[in-house]
Symmetry: none
Subunit: 218 residues, 4 copies
Amino acid sequence: MNMTTREEAERTEPVAGAAGDAVSQRAEAAPKRRGRPRSQASREAILRATGELMAPGQYAQLTMEGIAARAGVSKQTVYRWWPSKADVIVESVGEGYLTLPLPGPEDTGDLHADLRVWMHLLRHEIEGGGASQLAQGLVGALAQQDSRGETIRAVLVDPVAEQVGSRLEAASQSLGTALDVEKIIEVFTSLILMNVLFGQRMSDEWIDETIAWLIPRA
Amino acid sequence: MNMTTREEAERTEPVAGAAGDAVSQRAEAAPKRRGRPRSQASREAILRATGELMAPGQYAQLTMEGIAARAGVSKQTVYRWWPSKADVIVESVGEGYLTLPLPGPEDTGDLHADLRVWMHLLRHEIEGGGASQLAQGLVGALAQQDSRGETIRAVLVDPVAEQVGSRLEAASQSLGTALDVEKIIEVFTSLILMNVLFGQRMSDEWIDETIAWLIPRA
Amino acid sequence: MNMTTREEAERTEPVAGAAGDAVSQRAEAAPKRRGRPRSQASREAILRATGELMAPGQYAQLTMEGIAARAGVSKQTVYRWWPSKADVIVESVGEGYLTLPLPGPEDTGDLHADLRVWMHLLRHEIEGGGASQLAQGLVGALAQQDSRGETIRAVLVDPVAEQVGSRLEAASQSLGTALDVEKIIEVFTSLILMNVLFGQRMSDEWIDETIAWLIPRA
Amino acid sequence: MNMTTREEAERTEPVAGAAGDAVSQRAEAAPKRRGRPRSQASREAILRATGELMAPGQYAQLTMEGIAARAGVSKQTVYRWWPSKADVIVESVGEGYLTLPLPGPEDTGDLHADLRVWMHLLRHEIEGGGASQLAQGLVGALAQQDSRGETIRAVLVDPVAEQVGSRLEAASQSLGTALDVEKIIEVFTSLILMNVLFGQRMSDEWIDETIAWLIPRA
DNA sequence: TGGTAAACGAGACGGTACGTCGCGTCTTTTC
DNA sequence: GAAAAGACGCGACGTACCGTCTCGTTTACCA
């Protein structure tokens, strides 16, 4: 990610020892910045506006001008802190201003049924078009600058994996079956995301077959 | 895909007349179009130019103006025959003017070994960055105009599925095992494309595990 | 003046042997241009808009964006034909889309009285501020690119010189006096323009003195 | 308007106190300002920078940011003491940090000869372009903010008038002739400034004629 | 001699205009 | 009637200055 060191410093400062940051020893050598400090309000407004404009139907407005306008901020302020649209999107998503509208599966005790219900839900979501558009938009927007795979993965893949994962792990314990949970999660996520990304319609049969194939009944 | 019917009809016609020739006497059985016929040379030049501009590093030039300029053709000529950039790209890829730098697996008789070799090859390709960039670019370019996904699938998914598919089917017959070939192909393709699209690194272990999990040894 | 040769050719073509053009022998070698010809309507709209925006009070809008907007034309169209704002202004003025709001003297037979009345009129005009603002604006706008003295002279100086000149020449003949008419015109024009440009107030005494000094009574 | 800022500051202070303020106990007209006094060094640096940036060729840099940068000063410091760019320019010129490259006439005893020599010198200066450009620039810069003209007159007209004036007054006394010196100065200045402003070329004949016409030989 | 208030540098802020690029459409002449 | 040439309205791009606004840091005065 091509963030300037200044930006990096600024952001991580209030957040403190965030995320997977191991090397945070740089406390000495005061990072005392001179001049007026950047407006935290502007920063948030920009990231929020970006998140909002990623919503289905708004996507056409996802321009630097659109973001600035909706945030009530000057274009220059956006450019001052993020060198490109991709960077703004990445940070907006990273800060949680936008989440994929994909729910996770319930837990009624019957794993197969839960997954089936869930995938029907996903199908409905995909058919609405919003999720696909958003996913494609993300890939498209980010593709222009860098590959930035980790980011997209963090936004697109991880949440889905997490949701299906927690359900599977619960089942794995209660069932006592020897499921390769990790692999199943991975495959499940891949299949679903392909369908979301490419707007593929999941037929009833395909759903049943897929579940059966991935999680053989005992 | 949104190809005009005229385009479809027209295209197959001169292709029969083949290669470099212009004034062949295909007159008979003709649907007799009046006026100057469309230039086959222009068509090829456009598709070739599109393919060339999709090459990694050139992607920024993939504009309608860039295509027309490189093809030595007027913009109108491009628009006359393809309603959108997405359609040009799709046809360019379809006609082989651009190929995803993703080879298929060899057939040495040992399915597991072949797949392992192949996936190491893919990993190398992914690490080069070109494939990921191109795949992302395709998604991005196509998403802007045609979010329906069939298009992207045709360009991105199908070729990979075909390559791994033919190897698997061959194995399926020689092995006589009851493999759900279709499902395996689908899953294989999904996993690989996810990795390509998001630049995920495939470790040796991951490759071995995945193959073993998908195609259990007899 | 930095007009492109193409623009020059285009403009002078319909105008025929305009202005002081002596070398117009280039008729042969048909300048047949290809592609869509430039829109005469746009050209006129731009020049008219420019003239209108030079009017007192509107001057703040005299931006390339303002001109394009008022002309109902895209910015690019303005830039396509004139490389800078100064060039647009020069041509707008040159084509008569704007004239200095300075009247000429009447002819009642009494030269001194006529001039006095006229200068009082001018004083009123100057006090309104419009004329000064416009003159300064012209100088300022044109100064940024080139010196372009001839143009400003043509717009600012010549009309005034002409008006006072014709009155003086008429008087010169009827009086039979040996007036150095040319010199007087020159001086008169200079004095008046200095006052216009710098918003100098002309007092009654100054007017009388000046007229008496320039045109001694017989 | 073109009062020095210090005067301005001192003036507005009591005015502010008079504006219906309740706490105004400092009635005893104390001009004593508290806090850090303004930096004389900054003031000079700003005026010098302004003068330097008015030099021919540099004119495009004559922005508030440019001035501040070259003076090694913050923008706010400039704005604190001068309300507009015009004021800075006026004071810079007034303090002699920039002089129009227009010399005055020598005094060899022969008035006509002195003037002729001087005007040839001016012609050379005008042809170089620098003087015209600078004069136009001044008009342009000042016109944008202060169209009242006194400012421009003070900068542009007065210096020239003074130079030619002192030579003429000297001559007037030694000659004893009844010259209307004031008028002659005015006319001379007008003619010359018109030529400078509009880059008009003064021919040998024109110079001789003009001098002869303005100052008839005894 | 230490407080304090104004001036200082730095530089971010909301704006407006700049000049350019690409879009998809249009209007010419040429083939 | 297709093709090249290229102008058109549109809208976003990224940059430059504008004049204003915090910040933390001097620095001269007055107590």
